[in-house]
């Protein structure tokens, strides 16, 4: 019998990764302040939920953006018919302007280089299809977003070769690491077509400094390979140092611009993953042309293009949003990291992103990934938090976990912190007489926690739709 394809029956979709096991645990028992106060709190989902009131207000005050006004109904027909893969000019202009503002106005983006895609997920796959043939490779610094294994490889046949970065120098991308990866690819007979960096980094939450960026641009020019900069978290830089984009660096160093491409999206900066607004911005005309044709496979709904065009062309709204968003993120990040440090939990120093890179190396029984998995299972099943183990990000050192902080309200954050604090107290107590079984003390802390959380002022309204992160397009 003629079966279905190898792609469909293989596991290139990446969903068998332990990364998703935590989601499964969350799915079966999701936290709800009233209905399921003992449920698992989702801290494995990099979503930005901190600015919705501000955005919602704008949407309510601008019905024309939702095609709701009297003239809007007329516009409806035009919008419903608009399927031009160039995208609405006003949409491209608004997005280009937004991208410029997010970079402090230090660089301008050309609306004609903006190509739409089905979210950043679609953008990455599309760029891979444009730049590489099956069997060719991209270098990717570790730790990196697990979805890249699917987005860049699954249907494209492109290989990913890790550029190993280490905690000893705060996971910096060094020239040595780049060269080592390049050599490794060569030894494996893989032709390297490009280097993909995520800046600001997921999962690290850090930005690349100027020197590193310049070094990277030099490297790719020397090897004549592409540089893809995933800048999806550009507007989440909430603290100094200031974000430096690839688009700025190429103005300062000599570079073959045909090698430079940026992937962007509104899913993280604005918190709109549902609207599927992905962008490919390339300095290479042939890539823009090819990507534009490929964008037919994942155009942005014209209804959404219209909404975004209206929203992002409101300069006043955009300027205030960028500031508000940073303030909320800073506040939440500060509170979270401070509370953690008070119970002896450290994290990589970060100034961006929707998560922290938590250092739990000292909690490992031994320095192995098995021990990391053991600890992770404890965190999910006993502390009842879904966090993402570093191994799923291809981190080469066990004990690191990505913990998201921007996808919940203040009260849920309190609950999460309390659970962590309780766990750490028990752990610290248990550390003294080391032979005591840790699990017993965790069980005790469980029953104690229940009483703590029944107090009414911990409750807050929660989204009516149960979040199902197992089936997310992107985390």
């Amino acid at each position: 019998m003629v079966a279905i394809s190898k792609i469909a029956t293989g596991n290139g979709h990446g969903e068998d990764s332990p990364y998703f096991d935590g989601w499964k645990a969350y799915e079966t028992n999701p936290f709800h302040p009233i209905d399921r106060p003992d449920g698992v709190i989702q801290m494995g989902l990099a979503e930005n939920q901190l600015c919705f009131n501000f955005i919602k207000k704008w949407v309510m005050e601008h019905p024309e953006a939702s095609l709701c006004s009297a003239e809007g109904v007329n516009k409806f027909k035009e919008t419903a018919l608009f399927q031009d893969y160039h995208g609405m000019p006003e949409f491209r202009e608004a997005v280009a302007k937004f991208m410029g503002k997010v970079r402090g106005g230090r660089v301008k983006f050309d609306p004609d280089r903006i190509v739409m895609s089905g979210g950043a997920t679609g953008a990455h796959e599309m760029v891979a299809f444009c730049l590489a043939d099956p069997g060719e490779a991209f270098l990717v610094p570790t730790p990196y977003y697990p979805g890249f294994d699917r987005d860049l490889s699954w249907r494209t046949g492109v290989e990913l070769v890790p550029v190993v970065c280490e905690s000893s120098n705060n996971f910096k991308i060094t020239r040595a690491a780049l060269e080592a990866a390049y050599e490794k690819a060569k030894e494996a007979n893989l032709r390297v077509k490009g280097l993909l960096i995520t800046n600001p980094s997921n999962p690290l939450g850090t930005i690349l400094d100027q020197d590193t960026l310049k070094g990277i641009v030099k490297f790719i020019n020397e090897k004549n390979i592409h540089l893809i900069g995933d800048e999806i978290y550009a507007a989440t830089v909430f603290m100094e140092p200031e974000f430096v984009s690839i688009s700025e660096i190429i103005e300062e160093v000599e570079c073959n611009r045909d090698l430079i491409h940026i992937v962007y999206s509104l899913s993280k900066d604005m918190g709109f993953p549902g609207f599927r607004v992905g962008i490919v911005y390339s300095y290479n005309d042939a890539v823009v042309s090819c990507a534009r044709k490929m964008s037919s496979f994942g155009l942005v709904s014209s209804q959404t293009q219209h909404l975004i065009a209206k929203m992002l062309s409101d300069d006043d709204f955009v300027d205030r949003f960028i500031v508000e968003s940073k303030e909320h993120l800073l506040k939440r990040h500060k509170y979270f990291t401070l509370s953690l440090s008070q119970v002896g939990i450290g994290s990589l120093k970060s100034n961006a992103g929707l998560f922290i890179w938590m250092d739990l190396r000292k909690l490992l029984k031994e320095k192995t990934f098995d021990a990391e998995m053991d600890l992770w299972r404890v965190i999910i099943n006993e502390v009842k938090l879904n966090v993402s183990p570093g191994s799923s990000f291809h981190c080469d050192e066990p004990g690191w976990f990505r913990v998201c902080f921007a996808n919940m309200d203040d009260n849920t954050m309190e609950v999460a912190l309390l659970r962590i604090t309780t766990f750490m107290h028990k752990h610290n107590e248990a550390m003294v007489p080391r032979k005591l079984c840790r699990r017993a003390s965790l069980k005790l802390s469980l029953s104690r926690r229940r009483d703590d959380f029944m107090s009414p002022n911990m409750m807050s309204p929660h989204s009516p739709i149960p979040q199902s992160p197992l089936i997310r397009a992107r985390t």
């Binding site: 019998m1 003629v2 394809s5 792609i7 469909a8 979709h13 969903e15 979503e47 939920q49 919705f52 919602k56 949407v59 019905p63 939702s66 095609l67 709701c68 809007g72 409806f76 027909k77 419903a80 018919l81 608009f82 399927q83 089905g118 979210g119 299809f129 444009c130 730049l131 699917r150 249907r155 032709r191 077509k193 045909d258 090698l259 899913s267 918190g271 709109f272 993953p273 549902g274 609207f275 599927r276 290479n284 042939a286 090819c290 044709k293 490929m294 037919s296 496979f297 994942g298 709904s301 014209s302 209804q303 909404l307 989204s463 009516p464 739709i465 199902s468 089936i471 397009a473 992107r474």
Partner: protein, 494 residues
């Protein structure tokens, strides 16, 4: 060695096809009733613009749908965050019900078997990725939608092998043609993974008869391959015969819950039936849970915007509205098609008899200087640059007979259609063919009244074709044969 991928530098995207070149010419000089009355009239775009005015009152009555509210309260946050690739449950339910309604509820669709994609473009590509490996092949009846060359082949590496259909039997699919295509694939050392049909057909505007569907089901059962039925125009069937989906035939033959049931997949979209191509709403429907699962994961590369899912779930759940909309849709399509067909007839141009779609398959073979594709291109260029109408040449649809053109009628007002017909009339009379063909048509009608002669001559014609299978269940369409063929058979009978 190239800096970009082979995919980026080849032209499998198909955009160099004449199909798209016509659009480019139109873009340079588009007709506008007021601003550019001498511009090119776009009849190369299969869009349904006839009923959009019906949407407006519905939108006014249901402000929550566009306003992203539920019971007057904003659910903006909920929608902005909703990225579940299983889709909005209410939307999939509404879509499944809508698909059932279109098929007269003779089949029902399970929302859990629906996979949402960014338009049918994405649905077709995704199915290829799910069902075929690079270098495998799918058989497609010609003529077919030019976009398939890109959608099915470009990034997937899958090949298309044509099943050639001809005007001799109204372009119906025959067993010899399918088998010939299969042999051709084998010669090219391509593993055939399935057959893809478009029903109702683009560019023919016809629905497949039961016997054709039976034929296809038998074939895929026999070879143990897949059948994809792109039913994107299922809601545009404006007159009899009524639409019969392959799912209905499977059910009637008690083949549901068998292996072949799991190898039949449907592609759908709201771009043609509802006239909403900008919203990018496509769907794959499969009875194979493995395909549904794989396609769902792949849909991450092109999900439907939650904003749009919300709007359309509200619209499709209003069954009274959709019933009225579809009924009015059919009426307007039928009228517009009739206007085009009769207008063309007065210019001495015949169309393949059609009952669906947003276009007619027009026979301009008698206007060709020679029976060649060069002559077809020459005629097409005249029509674009002198007649100022963009239509799609049959060669861009891989038709093997030169002289056929797809002419769209649903993307314009009555008055624009009249103008287009007027321009064509003038063109035809200017090349002196009009009176001659008009006379021939008159004489044809006289002769057709003598039924038994006609039937006898046709029978001998089909005997010549040695098409024993279709002779048994062939549903004769007494509407059309080419002028030259009619002349030949009548001579033979005389």
């Amino acid at each position: 060695m190239g800096l970009l991928s082979r995919k980026a530098t080849c032209n499998t995207h198909g955009q160099d096809s004449s199909y798209f070149l016509g659009w480019q010419e139109y873009e340079k000089n588009p007709y506008n009733e007021v601003n550019n009355p001498n511009g090119i009239i776009q009849m190369g775009l299969a869009e349904n613009q006839l009923c959009l005015d019906l949407l407006e009152p519905w939108l006014m009555k249901n402000p929550d749908a566009l306003g992203l509210k539920r019971d007057g309260i904003s659910i903006f946050k909920e929608l902005a965050l909703f990225q579940d690739y299983n889709g909005f449950p209410a939307f999939k339910r509404a879509l499944a019900d809508f698909m059932g309604e279109i098929r007269g509820n003779k089949v029902s669709f399970d929302p859990n078997h629906v996979v949402l994609t960014a338009g049918a473009t994405s649905a077709n590509e995704t199915l290829m990725f799910c069902l075929a490996d690079q270098g495998d092949a799918f058989l497609l009846p010609t003529p077919y939608y030019p976009g398939f060359d890109r959608d099915l082949r470009w990034r997937t590496g899958v090949e298309i092998v044509p099943i050639h259909c001809t005007s001799s039997n109204g372009f119906k699919v025959t067993l010899p043609a399918i088998e010939q295509a299969y042999r051709q694939a084998q010669k090219r050392k391509l593993r055939v993974k399935g057959v893809l049909i478009t029903n109702p057909s683009n560019p023919l505007g016809t629905t497949m008869a039961r016997d054709e569907l039976d034929l296809l089901i038998n074939f895929i059962e026999d070879r143990q391959i897949h059948l994809i039925s792109d039913e994107i125009y299922s809601g545009t069937v404006f007159t009899s015969p009524s639409f019969v989906s392959v799912m209905e035939v499977l059910k009637d033959r008690n083949l549901d819950q068998t292996q072949v049931w799991e190898r039949v997949h449907i592609v759908y979209s709201l771009s043609k039936d509802l006239g909403l191509p900008g919203f990018r709403v496509g769907a794959i429907y499969s009875n194979d849970p493995v395909v549904v699962s794989a396609a769902t994961k792949m849909s991450s590369f092109g999900l439907v915007s939650s904003q749009t899912q919300y709007l359309l779930s509200a619209m499709l759940l209003d069954k009274k509205f959709t019933k009225e909309y579809m009924s009015e849709n059919h009426k307007r399509l039928q009228k517009q098609q009739k206007d085009l067909v009769s207008g063309l007839e007065k210019a001495g141009i015949r169309c393949l008899d059609s009952n669906a779609g947003l276009f007619c398959w027009v026979d301009m073979r008698h206007l060709l200087k020679s029976n060649t594709f060069e002559a077809e291109m020459e005629l097409w260029q005249k029509i674009i640059y002198h007649v100022k109408i963009n239509i799609s040449p049959g060669s861009s649809c891989h038709c093997i007979e030169p002289g056929w053109f797809r002419v769209c009628f649903a993307n314009m007002s009555e008055s624009t259609l009249k103008l287009a017909i007027q321009r064509l009339k003038s063109f035809v009379s200017s090349i002196g063919m009009k009176s001659q063909s008009h006379q021939e048509l008159k004489s044809l009608r006289r002769k057709a009244r003598n039924n038994w002669v006609f039937r006898l001559s046709l029978q001998s014609f089909y005997d010549r074709e040695q098409d024993t299978t279709t002779k048994v269940s062939f549903s004769y369409r007494p509407h059309f044969m080419s002028l030259s063929n009619i002349a030949a058979t009548l001579d033979a009978a005389a």
